[in-house]
Every structure is written in C-alpha cells, then in structure tokens.
C-alpha cells in the first residue's frame, strides 16, 4: 500500500529516520531479548518479533512514529495464555505463542474491517492504568526468580510470593550480585547519565541518545564479565546458544482445538494491545498535529501480528517507551521503523553468538527497570480525590489483576467500569419544573422560584429512556401521583430524551394505562424528531391518554386551571 509519506520522501527526512532507526535498534535489541524471556520463549523469537511486524506496521499504520514490537504487558499476557496449553520450553509452547500471534492478528484485522475501533472506548483510562500498574508489579516480581537464580513460578501476587518465599534459600550468590548491580547501573543510566554527559560537555541530544544506549553497554559488559569470570561453570543461568540468521517464513500451527483454547486470551491481548498502542499513537500524533485512524490502526496491528506469526514471532503491539524514543530521536516517517527492522535483522544475523554468555539476570534487570516506569500510583490518589466510581474501577482492576492474574484482572476492570456507569444511568435525574414568572422557561422547582399549577405536574427527564432506567421512571411517577388529590395531568418534558427504546416504550404504556385508570392523562412535550418518528411507527400515540405538545409552555397553557404564584423570597 503506497502511503502519503512515501510520495515526498527526501534526503534530509532519510537522515532523520536513519538516526532514529539506529537508536531504536540499539534500544530494541535488549528489550526484544528480555520480553522473549518474559514470555517464556527463546531469545531469538524476541528478535524475530521485531523484524517483520515493524515492516508490516510501517506499510499499514496511520501513525508516523509508532514503534511496534514485543512489549512488557502483552508478553506477560502471552506467557499466561500459552502456559495454560503447553509446558514452557517445549516446541508446543513456542507453537502456541506463534498461534496466539496469528489468532490475535486475525481478530484485529477482522475488528478493523468491521470498523470496531470504537470498542477501545470501553476500556476507561482508570482501568487501563490500573491494569498496567498491577501488571508491572507482577512482571517485576516474576523476574525476581531470575535475579535470585531460583525456580519460582506463579501468575498472580499470592502464588508468586509463596513460590519465591519457598525458594529463597536456594538463592544463587553470583547471580544475585550480577542482577542487583545491573539494576543499579540501569537506574543510574536512566536517571543520571544524561545530565552527567551534558555536564561533561555533550549536546543535549547526543547526551540523550548515548544515555539510551545504557542497556546495550550493560549487555556488552555483562557478556564480557560472564566470559572472563567463567559464569557458565559457576552456576549462573545464561541465555545459551541462540541460532544465527533471519527468521524463516512458516505457517503458524493450524490446530482448531488449540485456537479455540487460545481464543479468549487472544481477544484480551488484541484489545489491550490495541488500546495501549492507540493511546501512544494519539499522544505522539497530537504533538505534531497529525491524526491517527483507530480502524486503520486495528488493521495495521493485525497485519503486524500476522507478520509476526508467519516469521516465528509472538504477539506484538505499539510500545510506549520505544515509540517515544523513536519520536524524540527525530523519526519523521515509518521508514525509521523499517530501518530499525533492518538493524535487528543484522543483529539476528551477526550478534547472536555474543548472547551465549549473557546472564538471564541481566535481562531480568532490564525488564524490572523498564516496567518500573509503568507504575502510576499517582493516578490512584487522583481518582480517590476525584470520584468514587473511578477510584473503585482502578481499585478493582489493580486488586483483581494482582490476585487473579492479568486476564481476569482486565475483565473485572471492564465489567466494573461498565456496570458502575450503567448503574448511574439507572437513576436518571428527573426534575419537577415550573415556569419562571414572565417567561416561557421551565426550571427545577427545588432550585428556582417558579409558577406551578395544582392540577398538573411537569417533569423534565435528563436522560434518554432505555431498558435500564425504564422501571425507575415508572416507580418515580407512581410515587409522585400517589399523594396528589387535585392532579389531572402529568406532562413529561422530553428535551433531553434522545432515545426511547422498546422497554421504555412499554414502561410509558404502563404508566399511561395506570394514570388513565386513576383518571389522569399523560402528556409529552418537546419530543425530538427521531424519537417522535419511532413513537409514530407503533400505536403509542393513538393510545395515549393525553397529547403531545410542541413546546412545554403550550402544554401548560392548554392544560392548566389555576396558577400557584411563586412564593416571594
């Protein structure tokens, strides 16, 4: 697909893209290896997942600077999903991870073709942040075993903690020292290195780029140390032999049973990956006044995952940190990502022998430092101050993710936020209104000094009427008319009613029927055009005990008998 940026591609754009591509390559190598480890997969699959998917996204995506590849949360979700159907380390495990990428890719493509981009709206910001924060904890805690050099497992906080506690005695000294030093170095490189380099006389941009190379420097140093001090024979877990060469094209496993077992996980990975990617893409696009198209993003991420599956990779999505690095390094077009893919391909061809001596603890340290930036506890505090519903959504998501694992965690979060929202709409705001003296305006009797009439009651409903609030309206009106002896007419002012669904229509019919039995009429005013069309398609208006008025004032004028003057205040 020829994209617009290709049309006026110039030499200086290429120079910018080449620089950005190089920096991203340097950053992606350790990340790819680390996230493969996190997903329980061999290191080379991390590299494979960072070649073809980048090219697919570059050709299909609507963001110019988004960088696609393995990311922390999706890798964790992959590990959880695949562990349910295969034993880690077996060819079946690798096959299942590839199938998961294929399935997730096909789902994203389908959602894109169906223009289902709006689905991402149902993941509220609190749920996504809470989920990512909790996942970061689980990811970090899950890597502690590599730091300790022990064999502990678990997919939620309680199981991980118990398993770690049980194996604490087996801690391997050299591994632990290596890991802790690596974390200290990475944290220092992340927070201090740039300003030190600037102080040392480097320009800000160069200092920033050099500082990003911290993880690569660490890997080179660790490989050297591991080789020199013979870590292999001292019981330090190493990455081991990683096959050199480019990924070969292959069909993902086409096993229907396997696919159906992975379906729900693939769906969750697709949605989470999409939401994460789109939010990064939007943020970056906004900075340069560009726009991204959510439905095109679904197609592009779908293509990237299918490409990953056919080239022996695992599920990928747009990553936050790498995209920011790409953007800050000056990437102008998706060509930067294609150049990064070439960089990773070169690494896969020539650098893998080096990785043999790399301690796994180094990759674990890389992961821990990377995910530490995903934790956002400030948002929890802010939500606590701002609203109970948002705080509840975050709290449920975090607790469920920590206690029950990532899949149930995100499902619980979505469910709670949707239910809380629906719960609020089950009790729409309904105001009894009266006329502001001398005008045709009707306002809430509780807040304004207005004229009402003893033989009629005017209600303004501040919400569309639909199945979840239909019975509330019914109860509200029955309660209201129960005590009033003089009442003859009920008028519903429908200014804010954008829709009346069939359940609400039936509730209105019951109300009308009940009021008629009590000698009252039900009237409507200011019904919007589309709502009126729907009401006319059934026999509601013919059956109605009262009338429909164009304006609320006309309704009151037609139905009133005596006026009640407003009290003087």
């Amino acid at each position: 697909m020829p994209r617009e940026w290709l049309r006026d591609y110039r030499k200086d754009t290429f120079v910018s893209d080449l620089l950005a591509g190089t920096i991203v390559t340097i950053m992606l190598i350790p990340q790819s290896l680390a996230y493969a480890l996190l997903a329980g997969l061999p290191a080379e699959m991390g590299l494979y997942a960072s070649i073809a998917p980048l090219i697919a996204y570059a050709l299909l995506g609507s963001s110019r600077t988004l960088s696609v590849g393995p990311v922390a949360v999706v890798s964790l979700m992959t590990a959880m999903a695949v562990a349910k159907v295969a034993e880690v380390g077996t060819p079946e495990y690798m096959g299942a991870a590839i199938a998961l990428a294929a399935l997730s890719g096909l789902m994203l493509l389908l959602m894109g073709f169906l223009r289902f981009g709006f689905l991402a709206n149902f993941l509220s910001h609190p749920v996504v942040s809470g989920f990512i924060t909790a996942s970061a904890f689980i990811i970090a805690l899950g890597q502690v075993r590599h730091l300790l050099g022990v064999d502990a497992h678990g997919d939620n906080l309680p199981t991980l903690l118990t398993s770690l506690a049980k194996h604490l005695g087996d801690t391997h000294g050299i591994t632990l020292v290596t890991g802790v030093l690596a974390i200290a170095f990475l944290a220092w490189a992340r927070h201090r290195l740039k300003s030190m380099l600037i102080t040392a006389g480097l320009r800000e941009q160069s200092a920033g780029i050099l500082a990003k190379a911290g993880p690569v420097v660490l890997i080179l140093a660790a490989v050297a140390a591991s080789y020199l001090f013979n870590f292999q024979n001292r019981g330090v877990a190493l990455v081991g032999s990683v096959p050199s060469g480019l990924p070969s094209l292959a069909m993902p496993p086409m096993d229907l049973t396997l696919w159906s077992q992975l379906a729900l996980s693939a769906l969750l990975i697709s949605i989470i990956g999409f939401v994460e990617s789109v939010s990064v893409g939007k943020t970056l696009a906004a900075k340069r006044r560009q726009r991204i198209d959510p439905n095109q993003e679904l197609v592009a991420l779908g293509g990237a995952n299918v490409a990953s599956a056919f080239s022996g990779g695992f599920p990928v999505t747009g990553g936050f940190s790498r995209s920011v690095v790409n953007f800050d390094a000056g990437a102008q077009t998706p060509a930067a990502s294609i150049l990064a893919a070439i960089g990773i391909a070169l690494a896969a061809l020539f650098l893998t022998p080096l990785l043999f001596y790399l301690p796994k603890a180094i990759l674990a340290a890389t992961i821990i430092v990377a995910v530490s930036s995903l934790v956002d506890l400030q948002l929890v505090v802010r939500a606590w101050r701002y609203s109970f519903a948002d705080f509840s959504a975050i709290a449920v998501t975090i607790v469920a993710t920590l206690m029950l694992g990532v899949e149930l965690g995100v499902l619980a979060g979505i469910l709670v936020s949707v239910l809380l929202h629906l719960y609020k709409t089950t009790r729409p705001h309904i105001a009894v209104v009266g006329a502001v003296a001398g005008t045709e305006h009707y306002r809430n009797v509780e807040r304004h000094n207005v004229i009402t009439h003893p033989n009629l009651v005017s209600l303004r409903i501040d919400e569309s009427l639909y199945f979840a609030n239909a019975s509330y309206l019914e109860d509200y009106i029955y309660e209201l008319v129960a005590g009033s002896e003089q009442l003859e007419h009920v008028i519903l002012q429908c200014t804010a009613v954008n829709e009346i669904d069939m359940s609400a229509l039936e509730a209105l019919e019951s109300i009308d029927h009940r009021l008629r039995e009590q000698g009252l009429t039900l009237n409507l005013s200011e019904v919007k055009g589309p709502v009126m069309d729907a009401l006319q398609s059934v026999d509601f208006l013919q059956q109605l005990s009262g009338q429909v008025f164009l304006s609320h004032h006309q309704a009151v004028k037609a139905l009133k008998r005596d006026e009640i003057e407003p009290y003087i205040i």
Copy 2:
C-alpha cells in the same frame, strides 16, 4: 416474619384464599409433575418443590398473589445445568439439582441483602421475551420425544432436530396417539371449554374454574385408560412408582467442586427467575394498586429456593400462569399459597399411587400446551417496526438461545443489548449553538436562525461525559477547530452534562492543552453543581486556558468580538 396482611386477616378473606388455594392446587399437581419431568427429575420432586417454597415465599414475599413453584424455563435451565455434571436418572443428578436450588437461593438472598434488585434492569424487555419465546420452542421440541416414545436428546435446536430425525423410525404408536389426543384435549379445554360451559348455563367464574381443571381431568382419564388398556405391557412409558409421603428435611450436597461447577448456571437461573417473577408480581400488584419491593423479592425467592433445596426440591420461581390463576380465582393474601402448599402436601401423601399408570406422554402434552402461550412472535414484529437496536437484541437472543442453548442465549442477549446501548452513547449529540436574536437563548445553528461570532464557537453537549464518549468529544473538537482561522475561544455549554468521569476529565485536559498550543482557550458554561465540585477537587480549573461562566450568555458576552447577523430567511 409477621406480615401486615396477617394483622387484619378476616373470615371472608380466608374464604377467598381457600377457593384460590384449591384451584391453584388442582392446577399445580399436573404442572409440578410435568416440570419435574422437564428437569429430568423424578415426579415426586416436582411435588416437593411445590410445598416448602410456597410457604417460604408466603412468609417473606412482598407480592400478595404471586405463586411460586417449578416453572418451565427455569426447569429447562436446571436440566441443562445439571446434565453437565451428572448422568440423568442417577442419585448424583438429583443431588446436583438440589444443590443448584440451594446455590441459587443463597445467591438470591445475598443479592437481596446487598440490595442488588436494580441488576434486573439490565435484562431488557426484548431480551427476556426473546429468551422465553426461544426457550418455549426448545422445551416443546424437547418433549416431542415423550410423544413419540423415543430416546432423543439435545440442548439446542440443531442437536434436538438431528436426534429426533434419527429416532423417528422408532416411534411408538400408542404413545403417539395418546400424546396427540392429550394435546388436542388440552388445547380444546384451554380455548373452548370455558365458553361452552357458559353456554351450558354456568356462571362465568365457575366456568373459568372448571375449565382450569382440564389437565387434572386429563390425568385421571389417562390413568384410567392406561390401567384398563394395559399400557404398561404395550410399551408405553409410564411415570412409574412415586413414593408417597411428605418430603424429608435434608441438607443439600455440600460439595465445593460441584458448587463451583454449578455457580454460573445458578447465577443465570437466579437472574432469569428473579426477572420473570418480578415482572409477574409487578403486573399483578399494579392491578390492585399494591407495590412490590424488588430487593424484598430477592430475599423471598432466595428463601423459597433454599426451602426447596432443604426439602428435596429443585429451583423454583414465581410463575406467570399459576399467579394469574391465583389472582383471578380471588386470592387476597399469601395465605392462598399456604393453602395450596397444604393441598399439594395432601396430594403427595395420598395421590401418588394413582400416578404409577400415568403415561409420560400426557405430561409432555401438558408441557407443550403450557409453553405454547409463552411464544410471543408479535413482539418481534413490533420491535422490527420500532427500532433496529431492539430488533437486533431480540433476534440475537432468539437465535443464540435456539442454536447455542439457554445459558449462552441469555448471556448473548444481555451482552448485545448492553453493548448496543453503550455504542449509542459513544457518539453523544453535540450541537453548535448560537443566540436567538433578542434573547439569551442558544439553539442549534442547523435548526434555528441564530447569531454567531467568528472568534468563538459554542458547543452544547447532550450527554454526560464518560470513558466511552470522551475520545469522541476530543476528535469532534479537533476536527471543528482545524479549519477556523479567526477562532479564539471554544465554549462548552454543559447544561446536559450530569457527570464528567476521570477519563473525560483527562480528555478535557488534552483538549485544553491542544487548544492552548494553537492559541485558543477552552471555556465552560452552565456547569452543574456536583460536576463543578468534582472539577474543583483536582487542579483542572487552575490549569484551564479559559474560564468557567455561570450562564452561556455571559460567556458569549465576555468573549465575543464581532457579531454575525443571522441570515434572513
């Protein structure tokens, strides 16, 4: 629990209740047996489920005339749920049905104590009707095997049809003739008998009561025919020996594995049973200006199911036809149900030997005729005319129930109706507004002839802002300001915004940030009190590029530079 109706209970109330109780007993005996058969359980369990639960509901319920016991849809759902964990006809199967009643009862009690009655609102009328219509088809088709005297099974339309087609050759002649005659008689009794009795000189009420005895007459006749023509040795499937006596109190099986396997089914049965029961209760209460309390109903139905479980019964709920019969027969208080329970207890003590010769085809005929009244295809037609969303909800529910079975059917229905509703709210109505000349009123520029100003744009948002529509608002505003060179201010008129959740708050912050970058200000007008309180709890208002105005007119007066006169039409 002493209830208000007990306080002034009089003799004439007792006479009314006794009559109603007797009629309901006569109606309940064949129904209880039939629904036990439908649930795959021995006949006596149907009787047991119609004794203790009636008393429990009478003591706890808020409806005066609701009649509780086994009902068609819940019995079908019981059969489907229990068949997943045990073989039909085994003691484990019976135990699982009892455990299901216990679990469902405890869930209902819990929901009642938590005041979760509002949850029933999420089952829209189209979904419930569609579900019941489709279930009636499955129930009727499931009984055809008893009419044919063959061994066919299935829990959805395709499997039932295939299984029936396969066994069609084994059809047992006498059974088929018995069943078809029974259906013909029941249909005749239901539609013709009453008017014939009236023509014969009976009073309307007596004719109505006698006509209701149709199924009991059928049973007596069938037992006599079966005995006289020796059906037993001619291969007709009979009910067989039914133990005499009252149910004995016993703990339901307390097997955690079993309970967890049944949990989802129990939840669905609880919700469906509750919704069905409450809608019957509401209809009847409205006729006599009484009210029912949904949360009290949860407690009462919970109590009824727990009572059912402890006395060897299966899941029960308030039934439509029996409650209407109870009401029409003149029941004044729940004492009528207690009297009916005594009637069923007497039947369990003395009438069971008669049932030995009863052909199962007779019970199947009873079920088929009973569920035929549940089919409501008119609603489908009405929904088709009324709105696409409601029609889709019905269609999905019916198709999913027929094709995938009752549990997935009702889940699909709920999901689709909630998603359709949410989808509609993701695109709130937003109007660009201008002043009506000579007034302080702002109206949609597309519908009215209004004054606008080139340096500002006024937007009225007709919906609360929350996570699902936050990004729509963002996109809408970015699109709007993109082309306008002269624009300086954006004013959001928040009259219809009842809530701004945290996702929407962050969207507003992004909008503000983006507008500021483009040299524009974001202003709010007519913000409601509670929304303002929430915005003040965070630093949004301090960061805001523009101001918050009390009225929209004030905002425009303060920010306008030149006026654009409305075009003359």
